[in-house]
């Protein structure tokens, strides 16, 4: 019979009883979110993996003293955020060298990617190209905007969780997210034609994922 996944609280409780499998389950549950976030906050894949590993080492060390007032999710991201800050202080250099978007004008827009969805391999290639351009545009954002947009738009965290991780008011999260999105839109203007009329409140995700 398939085992039902334990909740975070149950896993923490098992970890406190020195159950290493429970800790490994926490690692498996959070590692992709952590690497996705950290990779966009530091300048290399190798350093990002190192920070992601260190995040879980810190989590293991702190699990006994972890009080479940905040969620495990928030706590994991906070540790990762602090490690990224430490990393940048140690290295004292900009996060990434801005990479120019090659051949901007010739790239197809998102809507074209949608229209060509039936042409699977080509559409996948176009989507991948757009994702790469977006990745570079995110890397060029100031850190405070990048943190919020990665946590929300990429990792799917709620405003309240981001406010707890970053340590700022909810209004600041909303404002930073708006500015980050506006900056990304400006950076990816050649990819985004924005011609189709849109109906707000319905069809919330106008572009299928």
């Amino acid at each position: 019979m398939e085992r039902v996944a334990d909740s975070d609280a149950a896993l923490i409780s098992r970890c406190r009883d020195n159950d290493r499998d429970a800790f490994n389950e926490i690692v498996c549950r959070y590692m992709d979110r952590v690497i996705t976030y950290v990779r966009r906050m530091v300048n290399s894949r190798e350093d990002a993996e190192d920070i992601a590993q260190e995040t879980f080492v810190r989590i293991y060390a702190g699990l006994r003293s972890f009080q479940s007032r905040s969620s495990l999710n928030t706590w994991v991201y906070r540790i990762a955020t602090n490690l990224c800050i430490d990393y940048r202080r140690k290295n004292n250099r900009p996060d990434r060298q801005p990479v120019p978007l090659a051949g901007r004008g010739a790239q197809p827009g998102i809507e074209q990617v949608r229209a060509d969805a039936s042409a699977e391999p080509e559409a996948r290639a176009l989507r991948s190209e757009l994702a790469q351009a977006l990745d570079r545009a995110i890397a060029d954002l100031p850190e405070r905007l990048r943190t919020v947009v990665v946590l929300h738009d990429v990792n799917g965290l709620a405003y309240e969780e981001i406010a707890a991780i970053v340590g700022c008011p909810l209004g600041t999260v909303k404002s930073r997210l708006f500015h980050a999105r506006a900056a990304l839109r400006a950076a990816l203007a050649p990819y985004l034609r924005g011609e189709e009329p849109i109906r707000l409140g319905n069809d919330r995700r106008g572009v299928e994922q």
Binding site: R20, N24, V27, C28, M31, D32, I35, T36, R40, E49, A52, Q53, E54, F56, V57, R58, A61, G62, S65, F66, Q67, R69, S70, R78, N82, G109, I110, E111, R127, L130, A131, L134, I138, D153, G156, Y159, K174, S175, L177, F178, R181, A182, L184, R185, L188, L192, R193, G194, E195, P197, I198, R199, L200, G201, R204, R205, G206, V207, E208, Q209
Partner: protein, 167 residues
Amino acid sequence: MKCTTAQQLISLEMDDRLSARDLVKLREHVQGCAACSAFAYDLRGLAAASSELRETLDADNFLLSVNPRIETGAGRQSLLERLRYAPRSLRMAGLAIGAACCVALIIGVRVQGIRRDRIERATVAETLRTVASQDIALSFGGPLDDLAVANLAALGAETVRQDDRSE
């Protein structure tokens, strides 16, 4: 509604954070505004593309890297780091205790200063009294009686009080 306001609301609307009233106003604006309509469309496209940036790790390899680091205690934290990753309530309590200690220290130093001032003044008054009694005794050519000494002591104390007032 201005376009800047509308575009902020569009960002909120994407995350279902807009009240029904604001949504109606926004719809009215967007229907008649090509720039804001394009903004809304582009933001949705960006949101869809953003979700494709999620990365994955090989769980087995990652665990093989993490577990030895735990065994060797690579993540052992200093007291300062422990405090940094401690829960907010604990950090706030530490901050409050630190602030209370600072205030107590300041008050202690101030009280000590006042006490030292008083002792110095008392010593000065006592010295004045002794010197005055000796001077007067010399001028009278003999020792003073108790009443004369008491009067001189009162005179000394009054002088110190006047000094306090003038300060």
